[in-house]
């Protein structure tokens, strides 16, 4: 199998005529293709029996970025800035993630995806960084700036899968989130921090490949370390498919 099949989770939106659609930014698709994976999009509408069958056919899953997870899912503090909660998507992604944590197919979790990984494993989130942590670093970059703006530094912990893939201890990243990890279940290894101490990456040492980052590598593929993230994930998925 030269091209592993990569499922990518997606959100909902309305099209220009106001009709309900499934929606995924194509940067995820493009980055997966460049890394050699065949991307397909997983609709959140799938009931458990159905997504389990689909999952059997996949070699790896990307949990994509998106709107906020319902704070009720983690006993989180409600906040006026919480937006875009999609109950169908929360349900599919949390159940799928929990299923995958007990399995060995590669997981790559990006932004909301990392928050989801934490919540699915029993962790919690700050529901608004500016209010609950502070504004030393602005994590929700203004929407009039390009998505590939490198706005803050990240320090990568040594002897982690993330460090091995990125090949650099300090790097600058883009940042498009107003929520962040708060309590983290002990099975996770934190792999990266921003200068204000927020978690920017984590992984699951007891899993063949469960890697999460808070920034958006799919928007900064002009940087080799960011391409490395996708190729490491697709390579792991290819290996998994063969096994």
């Amino acid at each position: 199998m030269s091209h592993p099949l990569i499922g990518i989770t997606a959100g909902h939106s309305l099209n220009k005529h106001g009709l309900p659609i499934i929606h995924l930014l194509r940067t995820y698709v493009d980055a997966t293709l460049v890394a050699g994976g065949v991307p397909v999009i997983i609709p959140s509408e799938l009931a458990e029996g159905n997504w389990k069958l689909l999952y059997e056919k996949l070699d790896g899953v990307i949990f994509s970025g998106g709107a906020d997870i319902d704070p009720e899912r983690f006993g989180g503090e409600t906040h006026p800035t919480v937006s875009g909660v999609d109950a169908e998507r929360d349900k599919l992604e949390i159940n799928l993630m929990q299923h995958m944590l007990d399995d060995d197919k590669p997981i790559f979790a990006i932004c909301r995806g990392m928050q989801l990984l934490n919540v699915a494993a029993g962790g919690t989130l700050y529901t608004d960084i500016a209010d609950q942590v502070g504004e030393e670093i602005k994590h929700d970059t203004s929407y009039d700036m390009p998505r590939n703006s490198l706005v803050h530094e990240v320090r990568v912990e040594e002897e982690t899968l993330l460090a091995e893939i990125l090949g650099t201890p300090i790097l600058k990243v883009n940042s498009w989130h107003h929520q962040a990890l708060k309590d983290i279940p002990p099975q996770f290894k934190i792999t990266a921090y921003s200068p204000d101490g927020l978690v920017e990456g984590m992984e699951l040492p007891d899993h063949p490949f469960a890697l999460a980052v808070q920034w958006h590598p799919e928007w900064i593929q002009e940087h080799q370390p960011m391409r490395n993230l996708f190729s490491a994930f697709v390579d792991a998925s290819r290996l998994n498919g063969k096994g």
């Binding site: 099209n15 659609i21 999009i41």
Partner: protein
């Protein structure tokens, strides 16, 4: 019988921030699930070199509705109403259709999908029916009409697979297209017509399930014919 995996082709649009996104209407997803299939969405970016790998993993394909096919694909007539082509989508759908037409896995074309099927197999299209077809009838009850507006009857040819599935000689359908089949590809058989003679359905006679319709059954899902089409498609994909 296991639940079949159904690949659904998709389009592109920009989101509210002007960023390029893959999108597909949820109506297709809902109907596939209702009929007992497992839908997944195929992004058009997937290059031709990956199509066989992708096809191998699927049990069936829906060629969905969408904007116009680029006229360079069928030497079509320029017309001011022709939408800007999505080259990636044209390439993916035409390539996958050719693979599916040669293969044995079921595929269902809807609206743009019947046009894709015809173009992929060498047929061509009216690029604006109301200007180019002899009867100049309106077929584009779109976008300012409800998607489930019943616009005209279609007569279904007895002896066709579509007739076997629907079980009626005439049904009422919605109509959301301004282009249509002009010359039918030689491998295809027309199986339904609108009163003005426009081809409303076509199929590959030697294929286990290679069927396409010009209307949108997913927007009139309560109609028995719509349910029959999705159910037959999913049942064939499950074999």
């Amino acid at each position: 019988m296991t639940l079949p995996l159904i690949g659904i082709t998709s389009g592109h649009a920009n989101n509210q921030y002007g960023q390029p996104a893959v999108q597909v209407l949820r109506t297709y997803i809902r109907e596939v699930i209702k009929a007992g299939g497992i839908p997944l969405v195929i992004p058009s970016e997937t290059p031709v070199t990956m199509h066989r790998e992708l096809y191998k993993r699927l049990d069936g394909i829906i060629l969905t509705g969408g904007d116009d096919i680029g006229i360079e694909n069928f030497n079509g007539e320029q017309h001011p109403t022709v939408h800007k082509a999505d080259i990636e989508r044209d390439r993916l759908e035409i390539s996958l259709t050719k693979i599916a037409a040669k293969g044995q896995k079921p595929f269902l074309g809807i609206c743009r999908g019947i046009q894709t099927l015809n173009v992929a197999l060498g047929g061509d299209l009216y690029t604006h029916i109301q200007d180019q077809h002899s009867e100049k009838k309106k077929h584009n009850y779109y976008p300012e009409y409800p998607r489930d507006l019943i616009s005209h009857p279609v007569s279904i040819t007895k002896g066709s697979k579509l007739f076997e599935i629907v079980g009626e000689k005439e049904i009422q359908v919605n109509s959301l297209h301004h282009q249509g089949i002009k010359t039918l590809a030689s491998q295809l058989v027309a199986t339904a017509y609108a009163p003005d003679g426009i081809i409303e359905a076509a199929e590959l006679p030697e294929h286990p399930f290679g069927i396409a319709v010009q209307w949108h059954p997913e927007w009139i899902p309560e109609k028995p014919a719509s349910q029959a089409i999705f159910n037959a498609f999913i049942a064939a994909a499950a074999k």
